[in-house]
């Protein structure tokens, strides 16, 4: 079937099988490899993308179901080649990853969280990422990355003398 998929601000007119998941469609048809398959049954969260700004599991959704709704992948939050968003940079600063496999999903979840809540508590951050499994880090440096990003983003538009 033919669908129109709006991914990272670009509308793609593509032919998919009805059974093609959004994850497979992004990876195989649109060559967006940043979303990763982990469990393919909706538990690990490695395939997370933003669906109209909300973090969802692209392995549990058919591509056809996503037609017409704006989708954001990790490729869509990277400002330009070689340049990092404040959240991506904060993950680098705290080393909020090891193998990098769950990382794009974690960053997208952080984007969704901070868009709604610029000053999350530790508990709110822990809660936001609790649907995303990381086997490498034990989460501590991920939580710190999101807190650091939040702090920097809050400070970004303040006069410099008022920044922390």
């Amino acid at each position: 079937m033919r669908i129109e998929l709006n991914v990272n601000g670009t509308v793609h007119d593509i032919e998919v099988e009805p059974r093609t998941t959004l994850l497979d469609c992004l990876r195989d048809l649109l060559d967006l490899k940043g979303a990763h398959a982990g469990c393919e049954h909706g538990v690990c969260g490695a395939c997370t993308v933003l669906f109209d700004g909300v973090a969802v599991r692209s392995c549990l959704m058919f591509a056809a179901q996503a037609a017409g709704t704006p989708i954001t992948t990790i490729e869509g939050v990277t400002p330009s080649p070689g340049e990092l968003s404040p959240i991506q940079d904060a993950f680098c600063e705290t080393h909020g990853m090891q193998c990098g496999y769950c990382t794009p999903a974690m960053i997208l979840v952080a984007h969704a969280l901070l868009a709604d809540n610029p000053e999350p508590t530790r508990e709110e951050i822990v809660d936001a990422i609790s649907g995303n499994i990381c086997r490498c880090t034990g989460y501590a440096q991920i939580v710190e990355a999101i807190a650091l990003a939040a702090e920097r983003m809050r400070g970004a538009n303040r006069p410099s003398e008022l920044r922390k």
Binding site: H36, C44, T73, E75, F91, C99, Y101, P104, S130
Partner: protein, 799 residues
């Protein structure tokens, strides 16, 4: 600056260079590769715990559109050799696809190749296999007793049964007033990376070349592919620039690779096999140890443990890879951090009709540490001593290093009592006990858990020779090549894949340190296997020691060459030439110097200015041997396996809801000493990640089987991985006792979180349950099990 006070980059809080690509989703994982004309594999698996394969009907599958091939075990076995094993067990052959008999539920029986993975899965369902179910055995003790044989031709289910006696065990037992016996069980779990195993193979018949891209972490990978596929190893090119999405030991997909490599050669196009989660959990052969311990200790009234007997029975599953060797590594630290004078150790490995095991983080040390640390607590309990006190009394003291344990290993360095003191000061041990008692007063079950552990790191693989005398391997090398090019830029190489350990950062940091140049200026590349020097791969907590050591020595060779060129060009004796930040000057006349640019100019373009006989160019390499060398075991089974021993001390407070059985870690503190930390961000991440794994093994994770031999935890809804809710904040208290053996004082740091956490949690739970008169020594302690135990105990007590 580190405690050495002389490092520029080592131990400083620097970023990890690999992270930039990962945060952008630009890691290069195996599933991200799209080779032209590539086809996809799906697997047909056996639904029985054991079965004879009577017939395989491929016709319906082959008739489906987009389907290219169906491979069965007989065809593959006729064309290949069995996979390499560690022990000499020729009648227990392990192959990628079952031949005539399948020996566990989920074992691969056939492989389908189709245009897409979805089509391959459709076709896999259309393959008709006629099975005759066979008797099976799941339990290790039943398997040991005989009865049902997993491999008829082997004549028993025992792969290994070896007893070591180090010291006067019987005499020490006879002379001790007190004895204690304990049975401890570590259930089957694994590290279960979020990326499953995957491999892409492509055969070029005009160049005789098999290109392999895989999410692999495995020593001698190319060798094994070559031997099994019966092609020269020079026709196998393993690409090391594939990012591995987590491994922690288990990414050893040799059977996947042999299968895929065979298909690529047979069919003439690239073939890809990426496990789905079910294939990974059931038939990926990546389960970890399942071990039963019987421990006897002899001790005196003061709690000084004189002697220990340990029997370890390992259920390795249906086939043996390297997994029985996981009974060998613990020998290198068999007494942990304690001064136990004599030890008897019996290591038994049996096959059963369960999934085949693979190496898991710690290579068997985690279960052994659980047995040891549970024993320490029980001794304390019997004597009415504080579990902290019993450990302090038995631990090796700082001034006693280097310390040789009964099994022949000499520990390098440590300051255990100081690490413990630092943790206690941080925690406030008395306050922690008061907090526990307060929780108890509130009606909770609450306990304090303590566990120490050692992390043997950087070893020479002599546990192989110890368990199989036919093996004479006494080295486990790593290597680094550094080239300064004609433009003066520095490129360093490493010769294996990585799974998040930050090895590119390690190389940059160490080389930058030695050459006194910004580590970011050091480009790190990963040549393929045909262009590689030897690497033992990132197993056994070895890369900081071994790759770091190789890079350090290679950088010193480069420095020496630059210094010699400068001395010659300045016409001064070598000893007057001083290397500083890439330039070389005359000690006696600072203005007489040659810059980095000058030296590159000489080495690349002015041969007439080079010292006589010196090779032009600026390429150096170093192949590094384990710093304590390599000797084979003595006749009585003593050997130095590992050069370095990191130390951890875990202390936590845990409370259990008495009605639900839900455990909650209230506080967690950790003392950690891995010598010099080359990159503190990496070390902290490894430590925290290890603890998270340990929490999983202690409380949640189990590859559980039902009585029919079916794996019942085969998705992430049944096999529970700790989320951010289950992993508490941990206060890590660092201490630094450098190793005298390593180039920067570093030791390994990839495992100890995992080695200590399960024991500490088990001890906390036992402390919490003690008022109910319950003791439990079987992991994992799942909520359901805890809830039932508590309810039973309370019913008996009438409350």
């Amino acid at each position: 600056m580190s405690a050495h006070g002389r490092h520029r980059y080592v131990s400083s809080d620097r970023r990890v260079r690999e992270d930039r690509r990962f945060v952008a989703g630009k890691g290069q994982f195996v599933a991200d590769l799209d080779l032209p004309n590539m086809r996809h594999v799906a697997l047909v698996t056996c639904p029985h715990a054991a079965a004879r394969i009577k017939s395989i009907d491929k016709s319906a599958a082959l008739a489906m559109p987009g389907v290219h091939y169906v491979l069965d075990g007989r065809e593959l076995a006729a064309a290949t050799l069995p996979l390499m094993t560690g022990l000499d067990t020729p009648n227990v052959p392990r192959r990628p696809l079952a031949v005539d008999v399948a020996r566990y539920s989920g074992e691969w029986v056939a492989a389908v190749v189709a245009d897409t993975r979805a089509l391959a899965e459709d076709a896999a369902e259309a393959i008709e296999i006629d099975y005759e179910a066979l008797p099976f055995v799941l339990d290790a003790e039943e398997a040991l007793a005989g009865g049902v044989l997993v491999h008829e031709a082997h004549g028993s289910n025992v792969l290994l049964d070896k007893t070591f006696v180090w010291g006067e065990v019987e005499k020490d037992f006879a002379a001790s007033l007190k004895k204690l016996s304990l049975r401890v069980k570590w259930a089957r779990s694994s590290t279960v990376p979020i990326e499953t195993f995957g491999v892409v193979a492509s055969w070029d018949p005009w160049r005789d070349m098999l290109d392999v891209y895989a999410s692999i972490q495995m020593p001698r990978y190319a060798d094994q592919i070559s031997i099994t596929l019966k092609i020269p190893v020079t026709s196998v090119r393993v690409h090391h620039d594939v990012d591995v999405g987590g491994s922690y030991g288990v990414k050893r997909g040799i059977k996947h690779t042999v299968l895929t490599g065979y298909l690529a050669r047979r069919l003439g196009f690239p073939v890809r096999l990426i496990e789905d989660r079910l294939e990974n959990m059931r038939g990926g052969d990546a389960h970890g140890p399942e071990r039963l311990f019987d421990v006897d200790v002899a001790f005196d009234d003061n709690g000084i443990i004189r002697s220990m007997k340990m029997r370890a029975l390992e259920n390795v599953g249906a086939y043996a890879g390297r997994s029985p060797f996981q009974l060998g590594k613990p020998i290198g630290a068999i007494v942990g951090p304690y001064k136990i004078k004599s030890v008897q150790y019996r290591a038994i490995a049996v096959v059963t009709n369960k999934t085949t095991q693979e190496a898991v983080r710690g290579f068997g040390q985690g279960p052994t540490n659980l047995a040891l640390e549970r024993t320490m607590d029980e001794v304390a309990n019997v004597l009415g001593l504080d579990p902290l006190e019993i450990r302090r009394r038995n631990m090796i003291r700082h001034e006693e290093f280097p310390y040789t344990i009964p099994s022949g290993t000499t520990y390098d360095s440590g300051d255990y009592h100081t690490v413990i003191d630092k943790v206690l000061i941080h925690a406030g041990y008395e306050e922690l006990k008061a907090e526990r008692d307060l929780l108890r007063a509130e009606g909770k079950l609450a306990g304090i858990g303590i566990a120490a552990c050692l992390e043997p790191s950087g070893g020479n693989a002599t546990f192989e020779a110890l368990l199989n005398p036919a093996i004479t391997t006494s080295t486990f090398m790593d290597s680094c090549r550094i080239n300064v090019d004609g433009m003066g830029s520095i490129t360093a190489t490493m010769h294996t894949t990585s799974a998040g350990q930050g090895h590119e950062t390690l190389l940059g940091t160490v080389i930058g340190e030695v050459l006194q140049v910004d580590p970011e200026l050091v480009r790190v590349t990963r040549p393929d296997s045909l262009n590689s020097l030897p690497s033992g791969t990132p197993v056994g907590s070895r890369m900081a020691i071994m790759l770091g050591g190789a890079a350090f020595h290679a950088a010193h060779k480069l420095k020496a060459k630059l210094t010699a060129i400068a001395a010659h060009d300045l016409s001064i004796p070598l000893e007057r030439a001083v290397y500083e930040q890439g330039n070389v000057h005359d000690r006696n006349a600072l203005q007489n110097k040659r810059s980095w640019v000058d030296l590159v100019q000489i080495a690349f373009r002015n041969y007439h200015r080079m010292p006589a006989g010196m090779e032009p160019g600026l390429g150096v390499e170093h192949v590094y041997q384990v710093p304590t060398g390599g000797g084979l075991p003595t006749a009585d089974g003593r050997v130095q396996m590992y050069p370095c021993f990191s130390f951890e001390f875990h202390l936590l407070l845990l409370s259990i809801d008495p009605d639900l059985g839900t455990p909650e870690i209230v506080r967690y503190m950790l003392g950690h000493d891995c010598g010099t930390q080359i990159n503190p961000k990496i070390v902290r991440g490894m430590t925290m990640g290890g603890i998270a794994h340990g929490i999983g093994a202690a409380l949640f994770e189990e590859f559980a089987y039902n009585d029919d031999g079916q794996l019942i935890a085969q998705t992430f809804m049944d096999y529970l991985l700790p989320s951010s809710h289950e992993v508490p904040a941990v206060d890590i208290i660092d201490h630094e006792t450098p190793s005298p053996h390593t180039v920067l004082g570093q030791k390994g740091s990839g495992e100890s979180g995992y080695l200590g956490a399960p024991a500490a949690i088990a001890n906390a739970i036992n402390d919490a349950l003690r008022p109910l008169g319950i003791s439990i020594n079987t992991l994992p302690l799942k909520v359901s099990k805890l809830g039932d135990l508590i309810a039973e105990a309370r019913a008996e007590k009438g409350n």
